[in-house]
């Protein structure tokens, strides 16, 4: 099946079985390995991408849903200033020891901050409810995301709760 769609604003046409999943197409066919496969059933959030502006789990998108869609992956978001600010704030908070879940969490956090520039901890927790981080701690991640709205020199991680 020939499938044409946009990935990170570039038009792509691939030949794929209709039953292949977007996460496999991104990682294997297109070499975009930022989205990771964790659980493979929409629970862990490691494979999250934007599809037509909405966060979706790329492990749950078969190729036949892709024609005419627009996909944005972490590789594109990572080029933005917003990403740089978020990454710095998360680094400052000491989040992400291993980084496997980080691309999904960055996508979710970036999407949240685009819609709500100063989310509460509860709103961040709700947004991250589909992202499983097994080796970090959520408090650091939440503080990091909240820290984006605070000037770097004013951040006092661990003391702002």
């Amino acid at each position: 099946m020939k499938i044409s769609f946009l990935v990170n604003k570039s038009p792509i046409t691939i030949n794929s079985s209709p039953a292949r999943r977007l996460v496999d197409i991104l990682r294997i066919d297109l070499g975009l390995t930022g989205a990771k496969e964790g659980c493979g059933e929409g629970r862990c959030g490691s494979c999250v991408v934007l599809m037509n502006g909405n966060l979706v789990n790329s492990c749950l998108i078969p190729a036949f849903k892709l024609p005419d869609s627009e996909i944005v992956t972490i590789e594109s978001y990572a080029q933005s200033k917003e990403y740089a600010d978020l990454k710095q704030a998360l680094d400052d908070a000491g989040a992400f020891p291993c980084g496997f879940c980080s691309s999904g969490i960055m996508m979710v956090a970036g999407n949240l901050l685009a819609e709500n520039s100063s989310p509460t901890a509860a709103e961040i927790r709700e947004a991250l409810s589909g992202n499983i981080c097994c080796c970090g701690d959520y408090d650091s991640i939440i503080e990091g995301i909240r820290g984006v709205t605070i000037k770097p020199q004013s951040r006092r991680y661990g003391k702002t709760r």
């Binding site: 789990n57 998108i61 589909g130």
Partner: protein, 291 residues
């Protein structure tokens, strides 16, 4: 040589009439909308291995419509759950809104549809208890025409529906009644396993200290959602607050009516006790609201 998945044929109707014609011609095709139940690697592989045909509903615009009248809200079966939630609690019944927001996580809610949650017909699916309680109606369509039915008649058992070959769930009708108190409560295992073990929806309307109308629905206890008009009628007309004797009598009556599954992952005693606790919690909340 073609791989199994290459043999999968995907049809993409662009109108509901086109969809119904295609489905009538191919009644064994798999209907696919959000795909949160069917798009895991294993399930896609099994569809592909059998070289089945898929009818993808994503282009059928009529299935994504919302229509509101004074008495009803009608929701197209393929509308993603996140879009329904965004209608807002001031329009959507609060118990249903709470239930929908508790389904899985935001990314899954962007894909999953209300129609899919209903058609999966698992009694612990979170939309079902509120839809039973508010007397939701379903419109089923096929090339032969349309029929409406209460949601309580849609699923005779876990994973089963009354959909005939070539028939689809077209839309869900939600009565917009006023309730003084609405609640939805989900009992689930853990953050990672977000499926409900049990869920409960309760609605109450009261005036001048009299309980005028009550609706109770409990999901996950048995093969279908539990709702008992007998139990509801025992509460209606009572003066609030109920005495402890009245509460105990009601719970004893509920205890007789509940028939928890014996072959589920948790014991019937746990299901029964949790169901009764949720009922007591609902009554206590009505008392608080009525003060």
């Amino acid at each position: 040589m073609a791989k199994p998945g290459d043999l999968l044929r995907v049809l993409r109707p662009k109108s509901v009439n086109g969809l119904l014609r295609l489905y009538a011609k191919n009644p064994d095709a798999i209907i696919f909308a959000g795909g949160t139940e069917r798009a895991t690697r294993e399930k896609l592989a099994s569809v592909s291995a059998e070289s089945k045909m898929v009818i993808y509903l994503g282009k059928v615009e009529e299935l994504y419509r919302i229509r509101r009248s004074q008495r009803y809200l009608e929701i197209g079966s393929c509308l993603p759950i996140s879009r329904i939630v965004s209608i807002g609690r001031h329009i959507l019944p609060e118990a249903l809104s709470t239930a929908l927001r508790s389904i899985a996580n935001p990314a899954v809610r962007n894909l999953g549809t209300l129609g899919g949650n209903i058609c999966a017909a698992m009694p612990n699916n979170d939309s079902l208890a509120p839809l039973y309680a508010i007397d939701g109606q379903l419109e089923l369509r096929s090339v032969s025409g349309s029929r409406w039915m209460p949601i309580s008649r849609f699923s005779p058992g876990a994973g089963e529906t009354v959909l005939k070959k070539g028939e689809i769930l077209f839309r869900i009708r939600i009565p917009l009644e006023e309730w003084d108190y609405q609640c939805f409560r989900k009992v689930s295992g853990s953050h990672i396993c977000s499926h409900s073990l049990l869920n409960f929806c309760g609605l109450a309307r009261f005036s001048k200290g009299i309980l005028e109308a009550v609706r109770l629905a409990l999901g996950g206890l048995n093969n279908t959602v539990f709702r008992s008009l007998e139990l509801e009628s025992r509460l209606e007309g009572k003066t609030l607050p109920l005495s402890e004797k009245e509460v105990e009598s009601l719970l004893a009556g509920a205890d007789e009516l509940l028939e928890p599954l014996t072959d589920s992952n948790f014991s019937p005693a746990y299901s029964r006790a949790t169901g009764l606790r949720l009922l007591r919690w609902f009554i206590e909340n009505i008392h608080r609201e009525n003060r």
